[in-house]
């Protein structure tokens, strides 16, 4: 079983290769997800297009409080980036919590998002931060809010002729707090059974002026917990209110049974960990 390996140096050259080989082509950056699927025999492309030599897909920049991370930046580089830590320490912790150092040294942000496994760590945190991805094709460039990128298990709204080039995180309103919690009942490097990312900021009177909650492992895609958010928006978040809001998580999620827990167990854990995340943010 072999494939031809291509290493274009520009996005345009990568798109040309994609146009030439179509469904027989597969993009890789760190190739962590690809290698597993390939070794399992589930992917057999004739052409693999490596993206790591494309300088335009790398780099982390911050300007005006916003953050932009290139698609081929590794998890480890994000975890160690001063720009990322300055933007949001919880984002640093999210990337530091992924799998193991060996995986983080190899796996890239763009690969993580394009792979669209619903149990991955970065997507819920990036959704809670209001991030969007930039996708390029021969027809031009568009941005996709992260909560519209994921459409199903391993499936994104990226078109077959597009390449994910970067992720943009908007400037956060002053006083925004953020956290990412993952429930790992098995091993420290496992995918989470459920994970919860949340951002919250207070108004001057200590009411909730803005809140976003997103979960991993709770359905076919990472999910926004809009019912929970609605229950807290404008409210004084005392412990009772937080518990009531977290209890609404049932309406927002659609977990299924797998090796990390039954659907019913994940529903319980989603409520518990959402409550913990929100409690941490208001304390």
């Amino acid at each position: 079983m072999t494939y031809d390996y291509h290493e274009p140096e520009t996005v345009a050259a990568a798109l040309d290769l994609l146009a030439r080989y179509g469904e027989d082509a597969h993009f890789v950056a760190g190739a962590t997800a690809f290698t597993l699927l390939w070794r399992q025999g589930l992917l057999r492309p004739g052409h693999v297009i490596g993206l790591r030599r494309i300088a335009a897909l790398g780099g982390i920049t911050s300007a005006g409080g916003a953050l932009a991370i290139g698609a081929t930046v590794t998890h480890r580089a994000i975890e160690r980036s001063a720009e990322v830590a300055g933007y949001c320490p919880a984002l640093t912790r999210t990337f530091a919590s992924v799998a193991t150092v060996r995986v983080r040294n190899q796996a890239t942000l763009g690969g993580n998002l394009a792979h669209a496994d619903p149990a991955q760590d970065p997507p819920p945190m990036l959704i809670a931060l209001g991030a969007e991805v930039v996708a390029k094709s021969a027809a031009g460039e568009r941005t996709i809010p992260l909560d519209e990128l994921f459409v199903d298990v391993f499936t994104t709204s990226l078109r077959a002729d597009e390449i994910l080039t970067s992720v943009r995180c908007p400037a956060l309103a002053k006083g925004t707090r953020a956290t990412y919690l993952k429930f790992l009942p098995r091993t420290a490097d496992d995918y989470a059974t459920v994970s919860v990312a949340a951002t919250l900021r207070f108004a001057e009177d200590r009411r909730v002026a803005g809140v976003r909650v997103a979960l991993g492992g709770c359905g076919p895609t990472p999910l926004r917990a809009r019912s929970v958010e609605a229950a807290l928006q404008g409210a004084w978040p005392d412990p009772r209110r937080i518990a009531d809001a977290a209890a609404r998580i049932d309406a927002d999620i659609a977990p299924f049974d797998d090796v990390r827990g039954s659907a019913a167990y994940k529903r319980d854990m989603a409520r518990v960990w959402t409550e913990r995340a929100l409690t941490e943010l208001v304390s």
Partner: protein
Amino acid sequence: MKLSHTALVRAPRARVWKLVTDVPAAARCVPGVAAVTPSGTGKYKGSLLVQLGPVRLVLDGDVALTATDEAAGKASVRADAKDSRLGGTVRATMDLALVDRGEDTELRITSDVQIAGRIGEFGQPVIQRKADQLMTQFAECLARTLA
């Protein structure tokens, strides 16, 4: 793996029966099915394309109507398919039951699916979900065809 699906088709039972027991016509309602051709009495050859994220399965195989009982509104279908490129086989026995619901018909499909080889790497949750989507789209297409 046992799967069970129920769908309401907005058409009377006799018309639904005629469509679901006409294998080539019913197959046109399964998303991803390419040509279905007869290969003997009640037997057909066909091909089903299933996309699971980046993975494309092309299942080539045989479909046979193994039992029909129009009075009871029950039929059984057996499908035997393999993906020769990735390696893997799918065997399914599906029992269909049509139940009168006034103007509408309830379609119940109970399937026993055996998956062997690499396709099985996906695990039951993902396969179950894909089967749910196929069945939902199948029932919607039946309703549209009969409308």
